[in-house]
């Protein structure tokens, strides 16, 4: 089974995010970049499927700039077979839907049975790209999957919903997105890291995959970020005083009722 993993490089969740002078983008220097945490689950799940079937290929596909190679190499060191990076100056103006169009165009050129992605990228938090890729490729999509099983050209995905889970069966090829709980991603081993250096990592631009930036500029973005700002800082509030736990409890309940009026 040939599996494509959509992998995005994002700022580490600990990173301090600063806004650029233009007020619309973030400062990218001084940031530690990592694989989007959900995409680590996607890589792991792809490797497990390949291992359990004893054959197949896992391709890492990324739209991003040169620095994304590091995240891709980490995935290759975990055990993925090869990587394709679509890098083009034009991508900076694209929104999630535009990125999905690029990914779909790139996938169009390779053979695949299954596409695995993260349920959300922790930078833009859009929950959009993989489902849009599936729509462009006209194949099924199942999001927020915590368990999957493949047999007879079909995949059964247990997906998280409010109050529990639902099992959805889809014909392959399909796209599914990973939710926390699906697996524990492995660490790249030292031999894995050595091997990864020799694995194929292709770089392409938009023209290489049959897309022209000019032609895409109309469909590349239906949304634009007008401004970024910081949310109002939460101020430290009151420490609830009292001699005993009971006194503190009574004072808290009084404050919640009379001051905050939330209970």
């Amino acid at each position: 089974m040939d599996i494509v993993v959509l992998l995005k490089q994002v700022p580490d969740t600990e990173a301090t995010i600063q806004i650029q002078e233009d007020g619309r983008t973030i400062k990218t220097q001084d940031i530690k970049w990592v694989i989007n945490p959900y995409d680590e689950y996607a890589v792991e799940e792809a490797l497990r499927i390949k291992e359990s079937q004893g054959e197949g290929k896992v391709t890492i596909l990324t739209v991003g700039h040169d620095r994304a190679v590091e995240a891709m190499r980490t995935a290759l060191a975990m055990g993925a077979d090869e990587g394709i990076l679509i890098d083009d100056p034009a991508i900076d103006t694209f929104d999630g839907l535009g990125i999905a169009r690029i990914l779909a165009a790139a996938i169009y050129e390779i053979s695949y049975d299954l596409i695995i992605a993260g349920m959300r990228a922790v930078d833009d938090d859009s929950y959009l790209v993989p489902t849009a890729v599936a729509e462009f490729l006209e194949i099924p999509s199942v999001s927020m999957v915590v368990r999957q099983e493949i047999s007879d050209g079909k995949i059964r995905c247990e997906r998280m919903v409010e109050g529990g889970t639902v099992v959805v069966e889809a014909d392959l090829p399909a796209v599914f997105t990973t939710q926390k709980g699906i697996n524990e991603p492995r660490y790249a081993s030292l031999p894995g890291i050595m091997k990864a250096k020799k694995k194929k990592l292709e770089k392409k631009n938009l023209a290489d995959i049959g897309l022209e930036a000019a032609q895409l500029s109309e469909t590349g973005a239906n949304t634009r970020v007008a401004r970024l700002s910081f949310p109002p800082e939460r101020q430290p509030g009151k420490m609830v005083e009292g001699e005993t736990p009971e006194e503190k409890a009574a004072e808290l309940v009084r404050l919640l009722r009379e001051e905050a009026k939330v209970i």
């Binding site: 969740t13 600990e14 301090t16 995010i17 945490p37 959900y38 839907l97 999905a100 922790v122 930078d123 833009d124 938090d125 929950y127 959009l128 489902t131 849009a132 599936a134 729509e135 099924p140 199942v142 999001s143 927020m144 915590v146 919903v161 409010e162 109050g163 529990g164 889970t165 639902v166 099992v167 959805v168 069966e169 889809a170 014909d171 939710q179 926390k180 709980g181 239906n222 949304t223 634009r224 970020v225 007008a226 401004r227 970024l228 910081f230 949310p231 939460r234 430290p236 509030g237 009151k238 609830v240 736990p245 009971e246 503190k248 409890a249 808290l252 309940v253 919640l256 905050a260 209970i263």
Partner: protein
Amino acid sequence: MGKGVLAFAEQVDGSFRKIAYEVVSEARRLADILQGPLTAVVMGSGVEEIAAELKAYGVDCIVIADDAALTDYTTEAYTRVLSGIVKDKAPEIILLGASTRGKDLAARLAAHLDAGLAMDCIALSLDNSALHATRPMFGGKILADVVIEKAPKIAALRPNVAEVTEASGAGELEKAPVEVGQTKTRVVEKKVETTGVVDLTEADIVVSGGRGMGGADFSVIEALAQELGAAVGASRSAVDEGWRPHSDQVGQTGKVVSPSLYIACGISGAIQHLAGMGSSKYIVAINKDPEAPIFKKADYGIVEDLFKVVPAITAEIKKLKG
């Protein structure tokens, strides 16, 4: 018609989710600014009866897509039917809730219609006909003002941020033709509890426990949650220890919640946890360590052993209720 707002009113097993009322109320507000009609869409099977309920929220027209093929939510069938309704009504704005279902549907619909989508918005406004959506990014560290100019403009509204407001409306019922046809996906099993449990993302009050719980016994928290009609959440540490299911995790790699009251018990306040609950209206922190970072973000802090103070709070609330 055209130029109006179309609201997807999410129902599950014959009742509207709370988010449905929030979406319809927010859509009414936007429709008033646009001076256009508000159409609500109800999809499912056997939903005709509940659909009329939406009249009380100022809906001009209620489109019902009722079909056995829509009993369970599947991305494919719902996108197909909803996009048909969108083409018919040609709305300026489409509003959905950012629930698990709403997010999934919004994404596929946006791709199908080649429409701009702002996901998980916390505020919406209009500047002439441009839609401005405020949405958190980078786990809530940044707020983005996202602009969509081309119609239809799609926004998915985060649960618990819009007020539910009643208004009068014609509420004319209209049945949409449903032709789902062949699909490549089907629901084969459901493991959902629908009775009595408040969902974390929709709950008005959330009580969460962290590593300070010291083990899988969350009974002190559950008792407080029950007294408050609240949902129970957890930090990643508590989930990774296997004390709570993954679905309880609040944070950057868990659920994002915006309740009016969030009570964090034995949680230190790591940045990834704050990403999931920092937009709560009021935060209460209970921690035995006076230096715990969570106190810097809390409206009310109690330095105390949670096993002593949480039962005392539960007792106090019981007392009030008489």
